[in-house]
Chain length 187, copies 2
Amino acid sequence: MVGRYKSPDEHPFFPEQLLQPVLPPVHYKNVLHRAAASININKLIWDVYFDDLLPRLVREGSDGHCGSSACCDTTILQALSKRIHYGKFVAEAKFRESPDKYSAAIEAQDKDKLMEMLTYKEVEENVKRRVRFKALTFGRVVGTDASPLADPPLKMKPDLVVELYDKWLVPLTKEVEVHYLLRRLDN
Amino acid sequence: MVGRYKSPDEHPFFPEQLLQPVLPPVHYKNVLHRAAASININKLIWDVYFDDLLPRLVREGSDGHCGSSACCDTTILQALSKRIHYGKFVAEAKFRESPDKYSAAIEAQDKDKLMEMLTYKEVEENVKRRVRFKALTFGRVVGTDASPLADPPLKMKPDLVVELYDKWLVPLTKEVEVHYLLRRLDN
């Protein structure tokens, strides 16, 4: 209703049910190839969230608070979707850096080659380091007296957060990158 | 639509425009006096947010992203409202701890006396210490290499956050407490 899905970094889970925005359109600077608009892997993100991620984050059963759960699910799904679809921008930046390098694989529509080309182990290791650091920082439980502790309690295991990134978030982002690159030379 | 305002710790800003929940009602344990349901200072919170808090948090002018701004405003207003209306639960706990002490002032409907009785300078100082600590922890900017710094950059000035608590959030919470206590002995 406020037009979030007109923004190139937002992707609806139910595109067929969008309301018309009540606000005048914002004119975004166009940095992506127009094929980007047709790439949306939210159905896959939905399945990964409910089948793989959520069972690792909560205990089985119902506490009866379906409304609150649905609100949290929505927030997390939208955050995951946004983070993963940033792959379009990452891919565009990589392509602009070395267009010749990518063009051959794009013309051959060679998915495996593209996946190989856009994978930088070192960058992925750094992402995981940052994720661990963020889990340690933002996952802190602040005690009643706010005294700094050497080993403060955490809301979530940093290892688990790193695992979620390693097994799902990074691969899904790269999947978006490949989707995008495959169409990067479309007329 | 998911029934959040049926929960005793949530307060609508537009109670006259609520949709009927689509979920079956949740049965909450009743810990508050029933007068609690009629206490809602969201109109005041709205004014404080737009007139006092927001001008301290943003630069003047428009960046054109009205939709995103409205979403952020909504999130913050609901968080403020929730935090401030927790005063009902705080007041109930204080009353149960010393019912005789509070009853005289309630019977006399003596607002000033109640405000004085429920003010604990030491507790307020501790709240401000925790707020500062949280601003320092959760307001951190995590650099690209996630290396720990002695003096890390912050998204927001901790002093400002403490000031917002001191001047508005704590007084508004106490206002809810007084409202609640004044009605605590209603038949």
